[in-house]
């Protein structure tokens, strides 16, 4: 009996050690949220997470740029990969729309979460560092809001006072299923005001360049900088129709106030491995071999004939009759190649080539855009044909120009001709970089000469203000909001 009792005692001791062993288990691959903002390094890592929100496979790592071009006339969805998006016929349960919405708000939430974390732990940082990090968060938030409002709401100029429905404006950080996140759609005007306000703070507090890293240039090209904030402000004002401010913020960048930028000598100088961190890049979303939007979402997979080759260049873009500023010997035509085999009769862009690694950076702000933003704003605000506008337009055009003569103020009969030339140049220079459809809409233009995916059937003209120029609010979100969110007309 004594042995038995001893045995049982031993069992009990062994049992209690097992008890501890099976219950005290911490996750090895996760960090408790209490520790996420515990050191300056962790705070910065949690801040940069906001950019990672933008770098979502369905958003600014490439897809969002494709959507803006697919809605316009210059590229065609050869394989029907993007369902009815190019035909302006998405359904309310569209996965494309849902992914954009989710990614955008995820980036905004990451930014808001970091702002809350930085604010609560500001004692661990210098005041300058804290405000610089908050500026990065606001920069990201502005970028996400700007893209979201343009995807899901009619353009700023759809109503005279931009009072039409925009998107929910989220500026706080949530830690639980907070009813505070169930916000109705703010007006487009309110969203623009928020974007401009965030970018203004960002412009004040962001650095010109990042330093103290092993790869400072990498950080400078992929994180918010004064130049990026000022360039984006210029674009936002352009979309808003406030050309004076659009010109001002573009000129600050051009003047070199926020660092030196220039076009590279070659027309493709900002594209392809090794070229992403040149002076031509203002701000890009980086991808690399390990962190990229995978084979089904990456820019090179969709665009390159060596990849999935989903997106071919429309005859509308190639033909001078329908793209009149695209001279036959324009050097940018060298960026267009034919496919091989069954694709040999089709044209593709070579802006995105890293098919195997899917490492192409998504060019969000390129210096050429800043020049063209300025040229357009200046052309519009001047009373006649503005010489400075022509000069900046020439910087972009001359790089690609061959036999055509250079523009002078005399090339344009009036300022409208100059504006048309800037817009025409913008279509060619920024082609396949996510500008075209919105550049048409912000000036109330229609989409004409748009082909269906076969490159043969012509689609009807898509006018400014058409209901399905914008994406449906994801049906699931409307359902979850208990109809606090209102669907866009035409998608109910």
């Amino acid at each position: 009996m004594r042995y038995i009792l001893c045995g049982l005692l031993l069992m009990t001791i062994a049992g209690s050690s097992c008890h501890k062993k099976v219950l005290d288990i911490e996750p090895k691959d996760l960090l408790s949220s209490d520790l996420a903002f515990s050191t300056p390094e962790k705070i910065e890592a949690a801040t940069i997470a906001a950019y990672d929100g933008l770098q979502n496979a369905g958003f600014l790592s490439g897809r969002a740029l494709i959507y803006v071009d697919l809605l316009a006339e210059d590229i065609l969805d050869r394989n029907g990969f993007f369902t009815d998006l190019p035909r302006y016929n998405l359904l309310a349960n569209s996965g494309i729309a849902a992914n954009v919405w989710t990614a955008g708000y995820n980036a905004i939430a990451k930014a808001n979460r970091a702002i809350a974390g930085i604010t609560a732990n500001s004692s661990k940082l210098t005041p300058a560092k804290a405000s610089a990090l908050i500026a990065e968060c606001k920069f990201v938030r502005a970028v996400a809001n700007f893209y979201l409002v343009n995807f899901f709401a009619q353009p700023y100029n759809f109503t005279a006072d931009a009072s039409h429905a925009g998107i929910p404006l989220i500026t706080e950080s949530f830690t639980f299923n907070d009813p505070g996140a169930n916000k109705p759609r703010a007006s487009v005007g309110e969203i623009y005001t928020s974007v401009i306000s965030d970018l203004t703070v960002a412009l004040a507090d962001l650095p010109v360049t990042y330093s103290g890293y092993p790869d400072n240039v990498y950080h400078t090209k992929t994180r918010g900088t004064k130049a990026a904030a000022s360039s984006l402000l210029s674009r936002v004002y352009l979309y808003k129709g406030d050309y004076a401010n659009a010109g001002k913020y573009a000129l600050d960048v051009i003047k070199g106030t926020y660092g030196s930028f220039a076009l590279n000598a070659a027309v493709n100088g900002a594209f392809g491995a090794g070229n992403y961190q040149t002076n031509e890049t203002v701000w890009s979303i980086p991808n690399n071999v390990d962190d990229n939007p995978n084979t089904n979402n990456a820019l090179p997979q969709h665009y390159s004939p060596a990849g999935k080759a989903d997106l071919m260049i429309s005859p509308t873009f190639l033909n001078i009759a329908t793209n009149k500023y695209f001279a036959a010997d324009d050097k940018r035509r060298t960026l267009i190649i034919s496919g091989t085999g069954a694709l040999s009769s089709l044209s593709f862009t070579t802006k995105y080539t890293e098919v195997a690694t899917r490492g192409d950076w998504a060019p969000i702000i390129r210096y050429a855009e800043v020049l063209l933003n300025y040229a357009e704003a200046q052309a519009r605000t001047a009373s006649g044909v503005d010489a400075d506008a022509v000069a900046k337009l020439n910087i972009v055009r001359d790089r690609a120009r061959a036999s055509e003569p250079a523009y002078t103020t005399g090339s344009f009969a009036n300022k409208d001709e100059l504006i048309a030339a800037v817009l025409g140049e913008r279509r060619i220079e920024l082609a396949f970089e996510g500008h075209r459809f919105w550049d048409l809409m912000r000036v109330k233009a229609s989409v004409t000469n748009k082909f269906d995916g076969d490159g043969v059937s012509l689609l009807p003209t898509q006018p400014f203000g058409a209901q399905k120029n914008i994406f449906p609010i994801p049906q699931l979100e409307i359902d979850k909001s208990k109809k606090v969110l209102q669907q866009n007309p035409g998608y109910e």
Binding site: C18, V22, L23, D29, D52, P168, N288
Partner: protein
């Protein structure tokens, strides 16, 4: 092996062969009540090691000490008897058999109990129901075998999910899989495939090793497993050696399998005509034609049936060798198994080899020790591009590939082109033969399951048992995409994934069995159990293959290589303390009380412990005097139970708010991985069960029961607004209540038992209704969270779980061939496609109207993927030396969303189509369900609606078998005890009106809301085998 067994046998003989000086010899013959000899019965002198076994004539001869007083005679399936030894030397005995199934012993968790004393709901399935069946895993063979146990094989894909639902769905977003325990070892189960293909963990077990399967269904039975018991518990007992019986069994079958169905798609002629008609009706150029393949300038006529090309008769074989035996002191069971299933889909197969050794030894009269072990290796060859709606997937590829292009080009290589068809009109399907042969995903898995136990008799009736358990599994998956055809990648990709899952557990029980006087029986159990589960993986990939002849992932041979390791989703521990009291008064009034406390590492410290009590009572009416006149009632028991169990399938640290490391390209980041919920607590299931078990007339047994189960504090992946910015737009919450009610009925009866002819029937029936009582605070609809695109069904308060939620299709307008729908207000609307836009009008007057959209969805009351009633019907026949069996499975009252068909009816691509399009409307007055052919109209095909919802009702002939056993005259001459030859067919035929892949099709995996979605997974196989059972 034989040598080993011989030496084992000899040592056992030595142990028992104590030679005593003073002996005398007793002889006798043991017979059963029919006068037949009982061979292999053990005859022992009580309290000693002196004993022997009877020979084939039932006779024995035993030297016993002169002071021996009592002989104990025991045999399998017989009541043990004691004989007082007097002066005589001949002691013969007639043994009574344990013939009614009320005498069966049933395993109930940590102990066993006679079925007649059972107070809970337990179904027992014998091992013969799952052995030698042509299935990929034993769980598939459980289909239809037990009332209320629904076993659904998702598809014919090797390794695909087998969904087991005991009494319907038990949860909404947590697991609804039962706990599976084999010889006390909690098993790793479910899908353990790490890449594109699923892999069923239970396929790594040898079905022929199984002695019996007990399914614990009610709370009384299952709550001894506490937090893991809510979805029921399946207890597997493996075969053990029996004292005095030495056996060698060799079981083998060979055969082939083929697809049970082939969905009909257009042949080349109809394809060309249909596609061109679609185009011309829309005033577009033609898109389909035969191409010039051999370069002679003329179009070449080809007609390829891609399904026929890709399918084959796959060889199936199984070989199982088992030896068992033992003495009163030690028993052994050992088996070797080889199972090879070449799927009917070319290039896919599953091969398993396994070995088992079960040993038990009585060291002294108070100490018993033993081990139960199995090791297996399983290799699978599976689809490189998986299933579903990927262009290279099976059956998507063969169904959608153009029928007017060849498999091979004139150069003898796989034909890569599109013949004379238009390439640019949304085709993208690579040659299905090429992708299936050039791409692959192979898995090589090892599994060890073992336990070791010791049992000590402390005092009379009090036993202490301690058992340690291990379940270790690892696998290497090797997936390859050829660089030419890949997955549209065009550069080749190789992925290797090593996975490992470990479970160890240790339990200790004290079991006190006591008969107090004649009236009281007491069975008390107390115990503790500690369980630790871990998992991990290592992932390597290389993309951009330079030279395909070098197979290893190496920087030299790939443009890009990468590696990652991590946790495979499981890293947790469970500390448990439990107790059980079973009391019987005059064998008539029975009561059981169970209690278990579980602490789970994954919960917040304050919500960690869950307490799960249950109680049950039973009344054996047949022990009452007033029942005596009713002679036809041989046994009858009424029982009722109520209890609480929990659901531990809650995921990986669901309650802690956590961040994880990530990347913004080259920059490291820290990002929220789980918003967490520290208030999260156990999901609890309160179940009431009432039942009657009876044996009537000649062994007609029946069980009827009713249950009502309420699941509260459901742990939900609560879908939340995207504006919260939480990963996957969900948060884990305790919200929602679910109620399941049901009736189960089982009857087994010997219909005919004549001298030469036996006919036995077993039938089971289950009716179940699972209703969502509430969801979250807002009463929101919940969607399936396994597959974000599977939004066809929902969980909505007041509705049945998984009810379909769709727009209503209203057929094709016979006047104009336009598709019509019913809007939310009951108006019938149609649309025409004009200038690439859908133009909506009212059917009644042609006036313009708004489009049908998401707001027109309605809950389709009562239409769910869960059958209203289901079960099985088994019959066995014996005539002279012949035997036959036929097993049916049935399910009624459920619906399937036929997404496969919707893909095959798309009017805006040049992929092949279902031959249903031949019924398309073509002229006024045509009554059809297929709209007019018009290129570009894909709204009716892609928009989810009741157009694609079909009744799933089916009756399936699951298994048919005819056998012949060689007469004794021949077998004795061959020196074997039994030879049986048989032929068998599995999944013979399914009677159903369902037009998709299969009425059991499930593409979402192990889920609760989104079951019943038929989305391009392979057909089930039909298998024909012939086999032999040989016994020595």
């Amino acid at each position: 092996m034989r040598k080993f067994l011989m030496s084992l046998w000899c040592s056992l003989l030595l142990l028992s062969g104590d030679v005593l000086a003073q002996t005398r010899t007793l002889t006798g013959k043991i017979t059963d009540s029919n006068g037949n000899p009982v061979p292999n019965a053990s005859v022992f002198v009580k309290g000693t090691r002196v004993g022997t076994v009877t020979n084939t004539d039932g006779g024995y001869s035993l030297n016993v000490p002169v002071d021996a007083r009592t002989l104990v005679v025991s045999s399998v399936n017989m009541h043990s008897e004691e004989i007082r030894i007097g002066v005589a030397t001949d002691y013969s005995l007639i043994m009574k058999s344990l013939d009614t199934n009320m005498e069966e012993v049933v395993v109930v968790g940590y102990s066993t109990i006679a079925k007649r004393s059972l107070t809970g709901s337990v179904s027992k399935v014998s091992g013969s129901a799952v052995s030698n069946k042509p299935v990929l895993s034993f769980d598939q063979a459980l289909t239809g075998k037990a009332a209320g146990v629904q076993v659904n094989t998702s598809s014919g894909l090797i390794g695909d999910n087998v969904i087991i639902r005991i009494r319907g769905g038990a949860s909404v977003s947590s697991g609804s899989n039962p706990l599976i325990v084999m010889d006390g070892v909690p098993l790793t189960q479910g899908d353990i495939g790490p890449n594109y293909n699923p892999s069923n963990a239970l396929a790594e077990l040898n079905p022929n090793d199984i002695e019996s399967i007990e399914i614990l269904k009610d709370a009384s039975a299952a709550s001894i497993y506490g937090s893991r018991g809510s979805a029921g518990v399946i207890l597997i007992t493996t075969k053990k050696g029996k004292a005095g019986q030495s056996n060698l069994n060799y079981d083998s079958y060979v055969g082939f399998n083929e697809p049970t169905r082939k969905m009909k798609v257009l042949n080349a002629t109809d394809y060309i005509a249909t596609v061109n008609k679609l185009r011309t009706n829309a005033s577009l150029p033609l898109a389909a034609n035969y191409g010039d393949l051999n370069g002679d300038g003329k179009a070449d006529t080809v007609n390829t049936d891609w399904q026929e090309e890709l399918f084959r008769k796959g060889l199936v074989q199984n070989h199982n060798l088992a030896v068992s035996g033992g003495s009163q002191k030690a028993t052994y069971f050992a088996s070797l198994n080889y199972n090879d299933v070449q799927s009917y889909i070319e290039a896919t197969a599953q091969q398993r080899a396994s070995a088992r050794l079960n040993l038990a030894s009585k060291i002294t009269d108070w100490l018993q020790v033993g081990v139960n072990t199995q090791y297996s290796r399983m290799k699978t060859n599976n689809l490189g591009s998986g299933t579903g709606n990927f262009f290279a997937a099976i059956p998507y590829g063969p169904l959608m590939a153009m029928p007017n292009i060849p498999v091979y080009g004139p150069d003898g290589q796989y034909y890569p082109g599109v013949g004379g068809n238009s390439a640019t009109l949304s085709y993208s399907i690579p040659n299905p033969e090429a992708v299936t042969h050039w791409n692959y995903e192979d898995r090589d898995a090892h599994r060890f399951i073992g336990s070791a136990f010791g049992e000590i008799q402390l005092i009379k009736g009090l036993k202490f048992k301690s058992q340690v358990n291990v379940d270790h599994s690892n696998s290497i998956t090797d997936a390859y995409w050829n660089k030419e055809i890949g997955d549209g990648l065009g550069s080749g990709l190789r992925q290797t994934i090593y996975t490992e899952a470990n479970t160890w557990s240790w339990f200790n029980t004290l079991n006190y069995l006591r008969q107090i006087g004649a009236n009281h029986e007491l069975n008390v159990l107390a115990g503790s159990e500690y369980t630790r589960r871990t998992s991990s993986y290592i992932y390597n990939y290389g993309s951009g293959i330079k030279d395909p002849d070098f197979l290893l992932i190496d920087k030299a041979n790939y443009v890009e290589v990468g590696t990652q390791n991590g946790i495979g989703g499981i890293d947790d521990g469970l500390a448990s303390y439990f107790g059980s009291v079973n009391y019987a008064f005059r064998k008539k009034y029975l009561a059981t009380f169970n209690f278990r406390a579980d602490g789970d590492s994954r919960f917040g410290e304050n919500k960690r412990w869950g307490y799960f009590p249950s109680g049950s009572v039973a009344w054996r009416l047949t022990e009452e005097d007033f029942m005596r006149p009713l002679a036809y009632v041989k046994d009858m028991k009424l029982r009722a139970s109520y209890g609480v169990s929990g659901n531990s399938e809650i995921g990986y640290f669901p309650s802690i708010s956590t961040f994880e490391a990530g990347n913004y390209a080259d920059i490291s980041i820290l990002t929220l991985s789980n918003p967490g919920n520290s208030a999260l607590r156990w999901e609890r299931h309160k179940q009431f069960d009432i039942g009657i078990d009876a044996v009537l007339w000649k062994n007609t047994s029946f069980t009827l029961e009713y249950y009502n189960r309420k699941t509260i504090d459901l742990i939900l992946n609560n879908p939340v607004l995207a504006t919260l910015g939480f990963p996957n737009n969900t948060i884990k919450d305790n919200v929602g209540v679910l109620r399941s009610r049901g009736i189960e009925f089982t009857v087994g009866t010997p219909v005919v038992h004549r001298k030469n002819f036996l006919w036995d029937v077993s039938f089971n029936f289950a009716w179940n209704q699972t209703k969502v009582i509430s969801t979250n605070l807002f009463g929101d609809d919940l969607y399936d969270n396994n597959d974000g695109t599977a939004t066809f069904s929902i969980a909505r308060p007041g509705e049945a779980l998984g009810v379909f939620y769709l727009m209503r299709w209203a057929g094709v307008n016979p006047a104009n061939g336009l598709p019509t729908y019913i809007d939310i207000n009951g108006n019938q609307k149609q649309y025409d496609r004009i200038s690439n836009a859908n133009v909506w009008t009212m059917v009644k007057d042609g006036s313009a109207t708004t489009a049908i959209g998401a707001t027109d969805r309605v809950v389709l009351k009562g239409k769910t993927p869960y059958p209203k009633f289901y079960g099985g019907f088994m019959q066995t026949f014996n005539y002279l030396s012949f035997d036959a069996s036929i097993d049916l499975q049935y399910a009624f009252g459920f619906y399937i969303y036929n997404q496969t068909k919707s893909y095959l009816m798309n009017y805006s691509n040049v992929r092949n189509k279902s031959d249903d399009v031949l019924d398309a409307w073509s002229k006024a007055g045509d009554n059809t369900d297929v709209p007019r052919l018009l290129w570009g109209d894909n709204f009716w095909a892609t928009q989810a609606s009741t157009r694609w919802l079909e009744k799933g009702d089916f009756v399936r002939i699951r298994n048919v078998q005819v056998g012949y056993t060689m007469p004794k005259t021949i077998t004795s001459r061959l020196k074997v005890s039994r030879i049986r030859f048989y032929v068998q067919a599995g999944n013979v035929y399914t009677f159903t009106g369902y037009s998709g892949i299969d009425p059991e099709a499930n593409s979402v995996g192990n889920t609760n809301i989104g079951l019943g979605i038929d989305k391009m997974r392979p057909y089930l196989p039909r298998t024909y085998t012939m086999g032999v059972n040989l016994g020595l």
